[in-house]
């Protein structure tokens, strides 16, 4: 049986800031603007966590150092980590701050893989100025991630296939990858707290309760995960959201930000070879009211103009109050593969031109950075927001991996 390694960069953004400035080591560090994007383990001792507002964070931990952060720098540090990991195995699947590596066939090369993993931790700390990583090694992706969670931060743990069942059986059911927050709460309501409880539910019951994901949970509760490492995990959704620097009802600003976020979300979906069936829009008013809507067009699409048309309609439906907005977000979900969608018999030559246009735009942005091209409808953001090579610097960028 093969083995999979899961590597997670501990408190990623905050660790990078501590590496850049040694005066921050041992101090509570927060990276974020408006909300916490990442916080150091010293900050977590005060109950701080990602997603918490900075107002609340300051109340809980007044001595915390708060930094805006820099996405381009974090990507550069992550690249250094992935380059080191690639020396262990070339078969990788990397995300923002975590990666999976297939160790199958490398046993004779590395000898004791746990020792090699500890050496890798030291090498990564050396090339990054002290950033720590946690490594879990197990017979499959799901178990590797779960094992790593038990030894954070800076730990290494290897789980043998023979011990997998004993490890898994008493773990919280909500920790099983694929359960998520919503399903986790539903399971709690059903008095299903551990994997042992989850196993008692037959496949039919899980399918009736959770739909397609029920079968997945049935498998994972038994420690089975047949995904290969190099296969891209299809996300449940891809969202791009931000708060405005100040509340706004300006249709030009709102339109520009919405189109910019939709472009980012569509590009992320295309990079994964996916197009969404469902397109959603989220708005938060200045008085705290939150509205969300979604629409399923006749055919799945990841083309910017088609997604814009859907969000135009959603905005008209959702933005009905004379109150300014503080937050806007685009959510793409229910994905299908780019090449697996049903063809539109009535599609015209213009669709092909639109595809070629986005392919060309993506190629330029892949090479020169997202900021190298700004679409016409996002032009009003130029001069209003700072830019780096990854695009506009948003107040509270929030993105799925």
């Amino acid at each position: 049986m093969g083995e999979v390694l899961h590597l997670d960069i501990d408190a990623f953004f905050a660790s990078v800031e501590q590496a850049r400035d040694p005066r921050l080591k041992g101090r509570p560090v927060i990276v974020g603007n408006g909300v916490i994007a990442s916080c150091s383990y010293e900050a977590r001792r005060f109950g701080l966590k990602a997603g918490m507002s900075l107002v609340e964070a300051r109340q809980r931990c007044p001595q915390a150092v708060i930094l805006d952060g820099c996405q381009a720098t974090y990507h550069a540090f992550a690249e250094r980590v992935w380059a080191k990991l690639a020396e262990l195995t070339p078969d990788l699947d990397v995300a923002l701050d975590e990666a999976y590596g297939d160790l199958g066939g490398t046993e004779r090369l590395h000898g004791d893989i746990a020792s090699r993993a500890r050496a890798l931790q030291e090498e990564i700390a050396a090339v990054t100025g002290g950033v720590t990583v946690t490594i879990g090694i197990a017979p499959n992706r799901m178990l590797a991630k779960l094992v790593g969670k038990t030894v954070k931060p800076a730990g290494v743990l290897r789980l043998a296939a023979a011990d997998a069942d004993a490890f898994l059986i008493d773990r919280p059911a909500r920790d099983v990858p694929g359960v998520g927050h919503v399903n986790g709460r539903r399971l709690e309501a059903l008095n299903v707290h551990t994997v042992r409880d989850l196993r008692r539910l037959p496949l039919e019951a899980l399918t009736a309760l959770f739909g397609a994901i029920g079968a997945l949970l049935h498998e994972r509760a038994r420690g089975r995960d047949t995904r290969v490492v190099s296969a891209r995990e299809i996300p449940g959704s891809i969202s791009r959201e931000t708060a405005f620097h100040r509340p706004t009802a300006d249709p030009v600003e709102l339109d520009a930000m919405r189109h910019y976020l939709a472009e980012r979300a569509c590009r992320a979906a295309r990079a994964l070879g996916l197009k969404p069936r469902t397109i959603g829009l989220r708005l938060r008013y200045a008085d705290g009211a939150f509205v969300e809507g979604q629409k399923t067009p006749p055919l799945p699409t990841a083309l910017d103009p088609e997604v814009h048309a859907v969000t135009d309609a959603l905005l008209a439906r959702l933005f009905t109050r004379r109150v300014r907005l503080t937050h806007v977000g685009i959510v793409l979900s229910r994905f299908v593969a780019l090449d697996a969608a049903q063809l539109d018999l009535l599609a015209c030559a213009g669709d092909d031109r639109a595809h070629r246009l986005v392919e060309g735009v993506d190629a330029v942005r892949d090479r020169y950075g997202h900021a190298s091209l700004v679409s016409g409808r996002s032009l009003p953001l130029l001069g209003q927001l700072a830019q780096d090579r990854n695009g506009f610097v948003l107040r509270t960028p929030s993105l799925t991996k």
Partner: protein, 84 residues
Amino acid sequence: MRVEKLDEPVRVRADFAGGQATPVVFRRGTQSLKIARVNARWEDRVGQKPLYYFACSVDSGDVYELCLNAHELTWRLTSVMLDG
């Protein structure tokens, strides 16, 4: 702790031993700042042009971020992190 974003050309004396650049001292205005420690280094690129970044502590403890454009062989001071 506060970070000041900068984009200033600076003169840097660097060591290129071992095939990698390591800044040693740089001049900001009339002030010559000796680098006590390179805390971290990373690479970014614009198109095919590599940019090498260095987070450097000087004797006062402040951390300066220097960027070497390897294509143009120019250095820029991109930020400084000050205590207080």
